[in-house]
């Protein structure tokens, strides 16, 4: 088994830890928030789902876990009865792609062209690295269902499409949370969906094993700040749907970006003093942020965040 295959499914095992923290899926209740324009945020378990609705139909960003697909679709159908035309995946982790296949099955859409029953075909879109990760076979793991694969992948710096009367941009953020992150901008609704690059109230999971890096994370956060324009008094304007957590705006992303930069700089400074990972952990360079970004149910603990930064900084210097 290749290293890549091992590491791909290690992420699934890691996400299994995340799943272990989730409540019983039967008890999960979906919460729907209108964000702005034609965009809504649906929260259940796993990552946030962004849904854009309008006269053309529905575009979904991230699909949570597979067992929640029916609940997710029920809420989407309350917003719009039209065809589901696009599923966009911000990255390959199971709490964001898990519902792809189940949703595709519910929609009943044949993939690709050639359908003759008048139903618009569903396209599942993501950066090509997401498709690469999801098609890597791992021993003792079932393959990712074909029906849920993002075969409408893109490999360019960005991809744009027009749906429901507005331009939608997918920006690839190289080597940020993973190596296949997309940030989705709804230009007319003025909403950005960030995936797990931005997780307010929780340290970001910089998945170094799957191409993530703190440098890419910071660059992606800076790009999100370029996409957002605040309204009066630096709030509102462009709204931000994070990978997990509440609806935010630019000011919230600024606090998060500054946190990542400051802790990165501290670890870089300790590296210059030739400190080892254990020594850096013992110095607790994130200690003044832990009370804000680590809680009893946090996926990423302070030491894990420090280690991820350490690994990505030392990886770069090799």
């Amino acid at each position: 088994m290749s290293f890549l295959r091992k590491t791909a499914w290690a992420a699934f095992a890691l996400a299994g830890c995340l799943a272990a923290q989730q409540p019983d899926f039967d008890k999960v209740e979906m919460q729907v928030q209108h964000v702005q324009g034609g965009v809504y945020m649906i929260t259940g378990a796993g990552g946030n789902t962004a849904v854009q609705v309008g006269n053309d139909g529905v575009l979904i960003v991230d699909t949570q876990f597979a067992p929640l697909a029916q609940k997710l679709m029920t809420e989407i159908r309350k917003l719009n009865r039209g065809p589901v035309l696009f599923i966009v995946n911000t990255h390959f982790h199971p709490d964001h792609v898990g519902g792809n296949a189940a949703l595709a099955q519910m929609i009943g859409a044949a993939r690709g062209p050639g359908r003759s029953d008048g139903v618009a075909p569903l396209k599942i879109v993501a950066h090509e690295n997401v498709l690469n990760r999801l098609t890597q076979k791992v021993v003792n793991q079932p393959p990712f269902p074909d029906q849920g694969l993002p075969v409408d992948e893109y490999f360019t710096p960005f991809k744009d499409l027009h749906i429901n009367g507005e331009a939608v941009f997918l920006y690839h953020e190289p080597n940020a949370h993973t190596d296949g992150d997309s940030v989705v901008l709804f230009r007319g609704s003025d909403v950005v969906a960030t995936g797990d690059i931005f997780t307010p109230g929780a340290y970001p999971f910089v998945d170094v094993e799957h191409g993530g890096s703190v440098q890419g994370e910071i660059a992606a956060l800076d790009h999100i700040l370029e996409l957002t324009v605040p309204s009066k008094t630096q709030e509102g304007g462009t709204y931000v749907i994070p990978g997990h957590g509440r609806i935010c705006d630019e000011a919230d992303v600024v606090e998060f970006r500054d946190m990542v930069v400051i802790i990165r700089d501290r670890i870089q400074n300790l590296l210059k003093k030739e400190m080892t990972l254990d020594q850096i952990k013992a110095a607790r360079p994130s200690r003044d942020y832990d009370t804000e970004y680590v809680g009893p149910n946090s996926f990423v603990q302070a030491d894990q965040f420090v280690e991820a930064i350490y690994k990505s900084l030392t990886k770069k210097s090799k």
Binding site: Q33, K232, Q234, I247, R257, R266, D288
Partner: protein, 310 residues
Amino acid sequence: MTRRGGFFASLAAFTIALTPVHAQVDFSGAWAPLFHEDLPERLPGPELGDYMGIPINDAARLRADSYDADRISVVSEYQCRPHGGDYSMRGLSNMRIDAIIDPVTEQLVAWHTRMGFQEMERTIWLDDRPHPGPLAPHTWQGFSTARWDGNMMNVYTTHLKESYMRRNGLPRSDRATFTEHWVRHGNYLTVTTLITDPVFLTEPLVRSQSWVLDPGQRMGRDICEYNQEVPKPRPDYVPSHMPDTNPFLKEVSDWYGLPSPVLRGGAETMYPEYRQKIGKPERPKEKCDRYCNCGALDNPTCSAAPRSPR
């Protein structure tokens, strides 16, 4: 009962019917802030490294120690930020309060406040509406609801954005909430604020601010435009001092001759008994040479420059 008696009884019943079931005070009007409380902190701003009297935890202390005021110049997104809702009442702005009346029932629905600085606007709802859920956006002023307790209005605010407890880098998190008690005595308004912050405070922080009715004031516009003021040495630069390297933290101790531990703050430094513990100043000043006689008629703007003797 005579006909006249019946008339007055009816009038009294009508008047009682028009009286609100709960006491209400009219806060509407134009108000000017009074600075007799905490003036050096509020007008020129707190000294760097002065956390005295604030019940902070270690995380807040290190955040403030690491704070570099250059961040406001370099990170342009900070430039047009208003105060947080808990701090705005301590600012320098005049304030206008308008009553929002339900046109159908003529009942008071909310107070709307507007500050001059950064055009901070806030609505305090009195119609028993629920606070938004945990996934709703947070704002600088937060979401406020209020109830009457006799002549006092008790306000509860949630959904705040991360901001500052003090303008020297002491942080206040977006998980903080605060309660206010609004009391009007004639032309004076006093607002007492209790801030609870599970991220940065070990005990609630209590502060109070007073205002005087100022009917003649005219509030102008204050439209802020942010701009890069200083070139960044690199694109991902956020000014911050490394832990234990901020050279400016000692200044306040030197300027005022105060023992350094006092300035580090914490719940203990809030209470009067702490004076017994700290003892005498380490290096007592012969005479005041900074922010002297602050707020007095001969120094209303609280100048840091030494005042010449009269």
